[in-house]
Symmetry: C2
Subunit: 349 residues, 2 copies
């Protein structure tokens, strides 16, 4: 058997449990359908967990951090050194995702998949370095075949730790200065969308920066001649280590029966790669929020995905997904704890 | 001094603390503005609490329940007896708002402001009965002047209990079969909107029911000849006891320096009445979710309000606001706990 691990198809969620949960929703003391998307979440989690009354105690958040050679082209509002500085900030507990993970009692893991300079041992940071950042993708491949494989496996390994911790939900986040360039090129390659529909300011590019970003992305797409439906090629040529790790994580989580709550633009580009690698993974994805980054809309369309939140966030780190995770817990509390019409003595009216 | 209590203008939120919080947001380790509406929430709570680092421990939820004479016209998908049955369900802890209040550690109070038949003493239910439901508003006044005053005071009293409990947020909910008829007529009267823009299925009316609802609302508006800017008259002629109580609660909460998180269509109609009674109350309102009820959009426009969530909910009870309250806590955790660029050693880069 020589099938690569990511080609092993995930099992679908348990349709019988979904059906039973949908039936329960119809019997709870409320007008049918009046809890909207919260009803759908409860039904999906029933399918994920194979039981009518799912819960969500343990949430596992992994932030993958890596640098991007393309940053040298002046296509980010922040200097490349910020990636490593943010890695230290994660380690010290001061970033947005730290505050959100504490609030929801989640495990937070940070994985260095290739910040430019090896930061050495940092508390709470797993070293799974693929290399000292990718190569500039407008001038060659972002990474080698081996590097891609290693990055995908870094995602696999993180999910295995999440499964070991018996997580009921996986949230993948990312940090990498200039990675919206990589995500944009990747998204264009995977979806066939024109770069003009996808390019946006990322962490805050001005007009000149946007023009450089557009030229870089457009040039790389022309140079590499990528076709739709080639997720591995696209990841290798224009991807990032943290984006490939996210894609690997989404595939592995689906294989392991763990749903993933997808964050914003970068994470959704990784999710599209994951679904092209492993179509069955789509059943295990939930979309947390609609990013303020303009390219997120077309990407979500390509995935036929409707996020839970739309709050103007555009930070990454898994932050939007982490905020949305509370909605899932509310949905499951409602589903488990509400009385049925019969229990409330309302069924004879 | 003979000014009625609801005409005492609320103090505005503390603009200096808002400014200080906005300044802090700009110094936290993230691209400026990248937390979107969560940044705005933190700034507003700084203003509410008069300090740069607000928190939100105690949340107080009050569900006001009452019956509506208009239910006799066949304008609700459920029989009138369901209001009393749901009052018992709240008392027994089986309704949606019970599950959500437990989840967020909120105090939940249920106030009977006029269910048709007096249910007697029920655990967790405050009796503040204005009468055995309103009169049908297509055939006369919904309530008398005295009843209106009593209903407004029921809201006042609930907020006083919330203040006694040192609540940092007030959520008002409602339960009352047929109350979307009353809320629609009220909203049309207060905003000048045409009923066709506002009438919707409520808890699930079919086509014939919708036609009756439209005729009832239209007929009442013509009969009573209400003008914009007459909130007391509108509440008295077409309102409900629970809707008037909500309006009184929103005004009193603003006077007491407690922000209110407004729920869906019915609660927003009450909020519009509150703001017309006491324009300064608008500064103390946050809008939790966009209801699936079609009339909610125009009502929100009239209030220049943008809700936090849009999840297809249309249940009432304060449920949408309760789900949204978690977002406020996330926003405040981020605001309090994130490191500044200086603290993270990122300010020299």
């Amino acid at each position: 058997m020589t099938m690569p691990w990511y080609e092993v198809p995930p099992s679908p969620p348990d349709r019988g449990s979904e059906e039973a949960a949908r039936d329960r929703q119809a019997r709870l003391t409320k007008p049918p359908g009046s809890l909207g998307k919260l009803e759908d979440l409860a039904v999906r989690f029933a399918g994920f967990q194979g039981r009518t009354l799912p819960d969500l105690e343990r949430i596992y958040v992994t932030v993958f951090a890596a640098d991007h050679g393309i940053a040298e082209r002046g296509v980010s509002a922040f200097p490349q050194s910020v990636t490593a500085a943010m890695l230290r900030n994660f380690s010290q507990g001061g970033a947005a995702i730290n505050a959100l993970a504490r609030r929801m009692g989640a495990v937070l893991e940070v994985v260095d998949v290739g910040v430019r300079a090896d930061p050495g041992a940092l508390p709470g940071v797993v070293s799974a370095r693929v290399g000292p950042g990718t190569a500039p993708f407008d001038d060659g491949w972002a990474m080698t075949d081996d590097q891609l494989e290693t990055a995908l496996v870094a995602g696999w390994e993180s999910v295995e730790r999440a499964r070991e911790a018996r997580a009921g939900l996986f949230i993948g986040g990312e940090m990498g200065i200039a990675n919206s360039n990589s995500a944009t090129a990747l998204a264009c390659a995977l979806s066939g969308a024109d770069p003009d529909r996808l390019i946006g300011p990322g962490s805050g590019l001005d007009g000149n920066g946007l023009a450089r970003k557009s030229a870089v992305v457009r040039g790389a797409l022309e140079r590499h001649g990528l076709q739709k439906g080639e997720p591995l090629e696209a990841l290798r040529l224009v991807g990032g280590f943290e984006i490939a790790a996210l894609a690997g994580a989404y595939v592995r989580a689906a294989q392991g029966g763990v749903p993933s709550l997808v964050d914003g633009f970068i994470a959704t580009a990784a999710a599209l790669a994951a679904v092209q690698l492993s179509p069955g993974a789509a059943d295990w994805l939930i979309f947390g929020h609609r990013s303020d980054e303009p390219g997120h809309g077309p990407l979500l369309e390509a995935l036929d995905a409707e996020p839970l939140l739309d709050l103007g966030l555009r930070l990454g780190e898994g932050s939007g997904a982490a905020v949305a995770a509370e909605l899932i817990r509310s949905a499951l509390a409602l589903h488990r704890e509400m009385a049925t019409f019969q229990e409330a003595g309302l069924d004879t009216e």
